[in-house]
Symmetry: C2
Subunit: 190 residues, 2 copies
């Protein structure tokens, strides 16, 4: 007989998402989440650094996908490398995950604190991409710009992908947004 039920971390994540959806982030205490998962508050904080973090696990793997895309890109043009990274990251968001992503995003959009955390994660992603690009010999400032632009494209594309009525897969949306960025920035300068 096992001493502890396995998957404590996953139970906590599921309990948290369910409670947040039902009562909101602020209306849910950590003790309540832990109790729902059959654990105690103290144990929650052994699995997650803080209350918000419970919604942002897996971000590391997501970041790794981006970096893999950067490292395996055949090209050497910065924006082309970024495009490859975006392409690679879409593996993290298959169509089956769209409705789950919607639910999670609804919770995040309802709380400024969670938005802060999301932004910090995306900022970390941009930094990681910047480093990856520099390792491939891209000029430092150009690397930062390309990475920031790539993250911007991802943000806009992801929001579009999640929007009501949108049917295209993420990869296709991202390609469209990137194309739009190119034409925007290239537009007639006055």
């Amino acid at each position: 007989m096992v001493r502890w039920k396995p998957g404590a971390r996953e139970r906590l994540q599921a309990a948290a998402l369910e409670r947040f959806g039902a009562q909101g982030f602020d209306g849910t205490t950590v003790a309540e989440i832990a109790a729902t998962a059959g654990l105690t508050e103290r144990t929650f904080f052994r699995h997650f650094a803080d209350k918000r973090e419970v919604l942002f696990s897996g971000q590391d793997e997501f970041e790794r996908l981006f970096l893999a895309g950067i490292e395996e890109a055949g090209d050497s043009d910065p924006m082309a490398i970024v495009a490859a990274a975006l392409e690679g990251a879409t593996a993290f968001f298959p169509d089956e995950r769209r409705s789950w992503s919607r639910a999670r995003q609804r919770v995040i959009d309802a709380d400024p604190g969670l938005q802060e955390r999301e932004l910090l994660k995306l900022s970390g992603l941009a930094t990681a991409m910047t480093d990856g690009l520099r390792r491939r010999g891209v000029d430092p400032t150009a690397a930062a710009l390309a990475a920031e632009s790539g993250v911007a494209v991802f943000r806009v594309g992801f929001a579009t992908w999640i929007a009501e009525g949108e049917e295209r897969p993420l990869a296709e949306v991202l390609r469209a947004v990137l194309t739009q960025l190119r034409s925007l920035v290239t537009a007639p300068q006055v």
Copy 2:
């Protein structure tokens, strides 16, 4: 005789920056900041929504400068409007302010929580710019992209402006970064 010394808010801000610089953000309690300013903890929270916010006042005025730039831009090309907004915002950061900005940024860069708040502010700025662009008839997705790109340019440019050894005024740095973005995104596509 006055009942309270005037400028409570400013005294709190000065006390906070000084303490944060000396002991770090986490190593400073709100009660300590308030005491330094000759006030109580409760009064601190009447002036600022939370402990972090004491470093981010004035952001509203900053945002207004951006919006004014957008509304007064003579152009109708999205990125040209964004360029005008960037130009207008530089008024908020004259050269005399560079060393103060450096000190404040050093505090922020040392604490993830403060970075989160900064990102949230910049995100709010991007949203405001997006709305401003849409009010000028720019296509919604294009507006979001242009705004995000504009904020990215500002971030990269501001970091450059603040860097050790940099001497050019912010406006000049921003123009250079924007030019670099154009050539990046326009680069040969493979």
